[in-house]
Every structure is written in C-alpha cells, then in structure tokens.
C-alpha cells in the first residue's frame, strides 16, 4: 500500500533530550515517521523530571507533563552506549535509518565513537542533525545551555519588557521549540537535497543562532544606524492604542490595537463613545500615539465592564484586531481550537487520558487530519520490538542485555 502520511517511509534514530531535539523529531513522528527514541537506564532524558514538581510518586519519570507531551508518536528504547553491544545495536539502527538526531554538547557523540563520519561510513545516505546550545564549532561549543540562558544569549530579553524596567524573559522555555522547528526545516532541506544526490549530510544547528535569526531587524538597526532598539513594553512603533487591557473577572485581559483612523472610529462606536471621534487629542494616528496614556485609561474603563471573549467577538466583527488572553483552561475549551483539532487526547499508561498539543497543528496539510496516535513511550517500552522485531536479536540475547543493564525499563538505582 502506498504510504499516506508524508514521512511514512522515514526512520529516525532519536538520541535527543529535553525539548529542542525532541520537537524536531516529533514533527516527523506526527506525520508518519518511525522515530526510535534512545535513552538509557543509566542516563534518562533529564526532561522526564520536568514539570512534575512536588509529585513524589512511584515512577516519577513517567509522570512529566512536558516530557510526555513532546515525545508522542515515538517508540522508546534504552541503550547504555558505553557497552560495545549497545553501540553495535545503535549502528545497526543507523544503517537502516534516514536520520539521526542528537542535542548533546559536541564531545558526547564523538566520545561514543558515534559522530557523523562514523555514521556516514556505515550509511552514506544518513542525515545527522546536532542541536547543541551554541553549535558544534567555535570557542563556546562545549558550553552547555538551557532554554533560559539561550533566550538571554540570543538577545530576546533586552528587547522585551518595559523601557524603564528590567529586561524580561518569556519564561516559556520557547527557544527549545524554536530550535526544534528550525531543526525540522533543516532536516527537510537535507532530505530534499538527498532526493537528488542520494547523499546525506551533517547539520550543525546552534540554538542561539536559530533564535537570534528571529531578531534580524534589530541586528540590522545596529548595523545600519549604530542604535540599539529600545524595549517597548506593550507599545507598537506607531499604532496606538496598543496593549493588554483588564476585563471583567479575575486576571482577564484583552489585547487591542488600532492602526487606522477608520478602526479608531469603529472602536469609539463599539465603546458607545462617539464623542471621542471628535476629540482632537485622538484625531490622527500621530495624535493617538502622543496621547496613548490617556487613551489607555479611557479604554480600560470600557474593557473592565466587558468579558474578554465577548469583547473579541464584537471588536473583530467590527474589523478591529482584538484577542483575549487565554489561560490553559480556556485554551483547552476554545471552540475554534477544538474545531481545528489543535489538541488531541491520548491515553498513556500510568497517567491515563489527557489532551496534548498536536505538533503539526500549525501546518495543516490538505487531506491529512493530523492527530496524535501513540502516547509518549514508557522508559524502554519498545526494547523487544526494536531489538527483536526490527533488528532480529533473539529473546536470549535481549534477556542477556537486560541482565547486564545494557537495556532496561527502570532507571538504575530506582
């Protein structure tokens, strides 16, 4: 049968951890690739402890909301790569795979004897992607990094927050998925190249560079004019009003922005304050920009009486750009996202059924209803399938590996 999902013919060996690398491979897994996530009982993906703070329960490593959400649709095996048998298994997998992904600091794969030249020697078509914090070369290559330090180093905080306050972090850890989606694009670019040449290649993705690339205009400002763009709080370079306004209820907000005179007049009508359209302080875009503190106060008086969702519907129907700030509960119940299949429910052992974001929801392909088919794997869940069914190891060999702690299903010492 012809594969129906775009990546149904691809197999990926996934030695990544935390969120960046796993997000790269998750895009492929969600659209049909067989992704084999490699951990070990000596060294689990550290992200298995992420976000389950305060839960002091059995098998805590299976309870991370974050790990469980970014490893859906993957198979999971354990391999202690310090053991020559494990390394041999890893290489056997590489031989029958298309892509190898990892995001250690550069020395790790080299120390295992699993750097790109070693992999290419056994499979010239293999595409290998590394996503270390600072890239695979340069003086900082061995400096590790976490989402927070990468966000700082990439330059985002100096452009975020109020001009008279501290630089602000997103706190979303989002440089990981930013690097991750770049990684997916990089692998796809290499795959399209391989279609022509039959040859794989090595991809060196610095999480910092991938993120700083999203600030190109600010970099160019300094290059062209020697000036450092200011933090602008919730302001816009020329549109006003522009900000988050408090709504009815506790901690409810509405994002609202006015770009043109026509929009301003519509806003005055929606707020039932037509006299404002004749107020000279707000007549033109420049006037509104100069008097935006006064404008904010006027708008806030109105928004405090409004439900944030209702205000969005009324304003959007009038042609004004407005959006409620949605909390997790509201996101999970939002009718638009429900209609789009943005979240997908899946049952996972130990945890039960929960909704998870569909990793390819932002890039829907016609003819494909993307959903999550498999929950994130338990530690070593697919050892028998991958080692036995795919690689042909005998039950005795697999049992011996388990006895020697080369593979396993519980972290050592737990």
């Amino acid at each position: 049968m012809k594969p129906t999902l775009p990546f149904a013919n691809l197999r990926i060996v996934d030695a990544t951890n935390s969120w960046a690398g796993p997000f790269t491979t998750q895009i492929f897994a969600n659209l049909g690739a067989e992704v084999i996530k490699v951990e070990s009982i000596q060294y689990m993906d550290t992200w298995r402890a992420s976000g389950n703070l305060g839960d002091n329960q059995d098998a805590y490593w299976e309870r991370s909301p974050l790990w469980n959400s970014v490893n859906t649709d993957k198979l999971g095996i354990t391999l202690d790569l310090n053991d020559p048998r494990a390394k041999d298994i890893f290489l056997k997998l590489v031989k029958i795979s298309d892509i190898v992904a990892e995001n250690f600091t550069p020395r790790v794969m080299k120390n295992f004897g699993l750097d790109y030249p070693a992999l290419q020697a056994i499979n010239p078509g293999i595409i290998m992607i590394s996503l270390p914090a600072h890239g695979a070369t340069g003086p900082w290559k061995d400096t590790g990094g976490f989402a927070a330090s990468i966000e700082q180093t990439a330059g985002i905080p100096m452009l975020t927050g109020y001009p008279d306050g501290l630089p602000k972090m997103s706190s979303a850890g989002f440089t990981d998925p930013i690097a991750g989606i770049n990684g997916a694009a990089a692998v796809l670019t290499a795959l399209l190249s391989r279609q022509k040449t039959g040859k794989g290649q090595y991809i060196d993705l610095s999480q910092v560079e991938a993120t700083t690339s999203l600030l190109g205009d600010a970099i160019v400002d300094y290059s062209m004019n020697g000036q450092i763009p200011p933090r602008r709080g919730n302001r816009h370079p020329f549109a006003a009003p522009h900000g988050y306004y408090p709504c009815k209820g506790e901690d409810k907000w509405l994002a609202l922005a006015i770009y043109t005179d026509a929009e301003w007049q519509k806003l005055c009508r929606v707020m039932r304050q037509p006299e404002l359209t004749r107020d000279p302080r707000f007549a033109t875009a420049d006037d509104r920009y100069r008097h935006q503190d006064e404008l904010d106060a006027i708008i806030e008086q109105w928004t405090r009486q409004q439900e944030h969702y209702t205000a969005m519907h009324r304003l959007q129907k009038a042609g004004i750009t407005a959006a409620p700030v949605l909390n997790p509960q509201e996101l999970l119940a939002d009718p638009h996202l429900a209609a789009r299949g943005t979240y997908s429910k899946v049952d996972r052992k130990i945890m039960g059924e929960h909704p998870y974001p569909v990793p390819t929801a932002p890039l829907k392909l016609s003819g494909i209803k993307a959903k999550i088919k498999l929950p994130a794997p338990l530690l070593g869940e697919h050892n028998e399938y991958v080692l036995g069914d795919i690689l042909g190891l005998s039950p005795d060999e697999i049992q011996q590996l388990a006895k020697d702690n080369v593979i396993g299903k519980r972290p050592l010492g737990m």
């Binding site: 594969p3 775009p6 992420s50 976000g51 909301p65 974050l66 959400s69 790109y116 340069g138 700082q152 180093t153 905080p157 100096m158 109020y162 972090m169 997103s170 979303a172 850890g173 989002f174 998925p177 989606i181 796809l188 670019t189 040859k199 290649q201 991809i203 060196d204 993705l205 610095s206 991938a210 700083t212 999203l214 600030l215 190109g216 205009d217 970099i219 400002d221 290059s223 062209m224 988050y244 506790e250 907000w253 994002a255 750009t321 959006a323 409620p324 700030v325 909390n327 997790p328 509960q329 999970l332 996202l337 943005t342 979240y343 998870y356 974001p357 932002p362 829907k364 392909l365 016609s366």
Partner: protein, 395 residues
C-alpha cells in the same frame, strides 16, 4: 556549489513578516524566490523600521532588506485581468506559492487552490493566516500582541493579576514563518515521494501556542492554571554595568549561588527551604540577591559564576551580539552590500548544512528590479509589452 533547494521556484505573494521569513530560508538554501509586490508602493514591509539613517523610504527598510536578501522582485497588480494572467503563468512554472491573504480572498480573485492546481497540479500552496483556513474565528485577525496574548504564553511566568507583556521584536511573526517554511518543505517532500501536491494551512495562533505550550499540559495533568516553574530560576538582575541572568535549575544551583554570593543564611531560612517556599517568597529572595549583585560587573559575575558551575547568563544587547566571539568564529553574520542602504550586516545561516551550505548571493531587490527580466525571459513578453503593461499600471 550545490544548492539543496536549487531546483525549486517559489512565488512569494505574501505581505507580512511570516511569509517573507519562510521564503528567506528557502532562498538561502538555493530556491529561486520571486517576491511579487504591488506596483509603486511595494511590499508593506518596506514601510517598517528600522530605516537607513532613520529616514523612511521604500529602499531604506532594514527589515525588508533582512527578510528579502537573495530574492527577486516583480511588481504586479493581481487585481487586473492581465496581472492575474501573469500571476497564473508564473504559478504554472512554480513549485510553491506562499500567500497570506485572508481566507477565501485568493479564491475570490480566481487564484484559489483549485484555479492554481488546475494550471499546475504539482503546485504546493502555503497559506498563512491568523487563525487558519477553518474554524469559527477564521475571519478574525491577529497581530503580534494578540497572538502572544491569546497563545497563553503569559501563564508560564506565574504572576497572576499582573498585566501580561508582549514578547520583544516581531517574534510571533517570525515563528509563524518557521512553521510555514517547515510546512512548505514537508509538502514538497511529500510531492517528491507521493506525487501529490498539498495545500499547507499555517495558523499564527497555533504556531505561537505550540511553542509556548507548557501551561496547557501542566494544567491538564495537575489543574494548575499558572505554571511557576520559571520562578525557581530567579531571572534577570541589574548589575553595575548592565544585566545578568540567573538560571538556576534545581536546589544544587540555588545552594551554589548562595555560597557564591555569601548568602549562606538563605540556605537555613525557612522562606527558601523548598522550591514551593521560594515561589511563595520569590520577591524577597530576588531582593536579597539583587542587593548582592548590583555593584558587581557582569563579565566578572559571568566568569566567576562559570568557575563555580552556576548557570549565570550574559544578557547581551544587539551590539554585544554582533561582537560575540562565538558568532564571529562561526561566521554567523554576513554583510551584504545593498545599492541604497550600503553595507548591511545581518544574521546568516540559521543552521549549517555541511554539503549544501547557506548562500545568499544577491542583495534584497529594489522594488520591481526583476520585473523586466522575468517577463521578457521565460514568460516571453516583448519590450513593447512591458511599456504597455507599465502604462496600464499592471506592473
């Protein structure tokens, strides 16, 4: 040199940052990208900051230059019958079209997916919108502020009741462009293998939500609306000559920091004895630390912190980023000479491919710079046609 996307021709009729960033990545890896702009006024990006010498002008926008380096510019009024005809001729020869009109607008102009795939069944169409092509909000619009707000990103920072703050720059638009790029490449790959050309429906809201999705899964598991994990890390502090970031992951980092700053009394203080206690007394903890770092220099803190194995981060501004020894060693920045703006230094490859490297060989195009070349070339228009088209305002 080999180009990974060398055989692809891409028509970019988008107006925003997302579409332009999507095709920037394709141009960098060798695709031929033709940017279609409105005659006379050009892409709306040309009217956005920064401007060379702070003087607005159609050829002066640093944002436009960054996003469109390596592309060609063709002016075309697709609301005219001839303009539409020319667009269809371009689409017939293209592999992908990238657009960001409101849902249904291309179809109303007779340039929807059906019309396009009728003349070119192998054409991938990538459509970028605020909310996607379907769903109850599909005709609503989002901007940077709205997308960041609606995504729920602020529920990462554990500050209920405090007004949210938008993320800096135009990050949400760029992020949407990244998903548009990955989606377009997925569709091209699928076409190579399965022969089927798909429509890619890219939604800004879903793009931003996905990369800030911590809180929804945590809520689904634990019923927590405000995820305050980030508070453990302490965040950014003012020091003598700038700022530093403390990125404490786990108790060990906290203990090391307290010893490093001579704050060992914090370790026995019940207010800071557990992560939960620290969350509760977060501002007090920050105040004590702030007092200790405010008179120290950032480089000294960064370097001695590294010796103590405490994850202290520098918080560079764009000038310091341009001077980063790591970026310089990796040749991350490239300088492109632009006929109007002069030499412009900008980020180069967002990722490095070993045998098909990034290469942008031409500066961002002047408005309509390649109109004549493209029309008289493979489309076969004569110089007389060009004059007539120009007089009628089609190009």
């Amino acid at each position: 040199m080999t180009k990974a996307l060398g055989k692809y021709k891409v028509i970019d009729i988008s107006r925003g940052i997302a579409g332009a960033y999507c095709t920037r990545l394709m141009a960098g890896f060798g695709a031929e990208v033709i940017k279609i702009e409105k005659p006379n006024t050009g892409s709306p990006l040309r009217r956005l900051r920064p401007f060379k010498s702070n003087v607005p002008g159609i050829e002066n926008s640093g944002l436009f230059i960054y996003l469109n380096t390596g592309k060609k510019s063709l002016t075309l009024d697709i609301t005219t019958a001839t303009g539409k005809q020319i667009f269809l001729e371009l689409a017939r020869r293209a592999d992908a079209v990238i657009e960001d009109f409101a849902p249904g607008e291309m179809a109303r102009r007779g340039l929807g997916i059906r019309a396009l795939q009728q003349i070119n069944p192998k054409l991938v169409l990538t459509s970028i919108t605020s909310f996607g092509q379907s769903g109850p909000y599909k005709n609503y619009r989002l901007n940077h502020l709205g997308a960041w707000g609606m995504s729920g990103a602020r529920y990462n920072d554990g500050t209920p009741g405090v007004k949210p703050v938008q993320i800096g720059g135009w990050l949400t638009h760029y992020i949407t462009g990244l998903f548009a790029n990955a989606g377009t490449l997925t569709a091209l790959y699928d076409r190579e293998l399965n022969g089927k050309a798909r429509r890619v429906d890219v939604s800004m809201l879903e793009s931003v939500m996905l990369i800030t999705c911590y809180p929804t899964t945590i809520y689904a598991y634990r019923g927590l609306v405000h995820n305050a994990v980030s508070k453990e890390r302490m965040g950014i502090f003012k020091c003598k000559d700038g700022y530093i970031g403390l990125n404490l992951y786990g108790r060990l980092n906290f203990e090391l920091l307290c010893s490093f700053l001579g704050l060992t009394e914090m370790l026995t203080d019940p207010r800071f004895s557990t992560p939960a206690a620290i969350f509760e007394h977060f501002e007090e903890a920050r105040a004590i630390i702030a007092e200790k770092v405010k008179d120290r220099e950032k480089m000294e803190l960064f370097k001695s912190g590294a010796e103590w194995r405490i994850p202290i981060g520098l918080v560079p501004d764009v000038k310091e980023i341009l001077e980063s020894p790591q970026h310089q060693a990796r040749n991350f920045f490239e300088t492109v000479k632009h006929p109007a703006a002069g030499a412009v230094t900008m980020p180069g490859a967002p990722f490095k491919l070993s045998s098909t490297p990034w290469q942008l060989t031409s500066p961002a195009p002047l408005l309509g710079e390649h109109t004549r070349e493209i029309l008289t070339g493979e489309l076969g228009y004569t110089p007389d046609d060009i004059v007539r088209l120009r007089e009628r305002g089609v190009i």
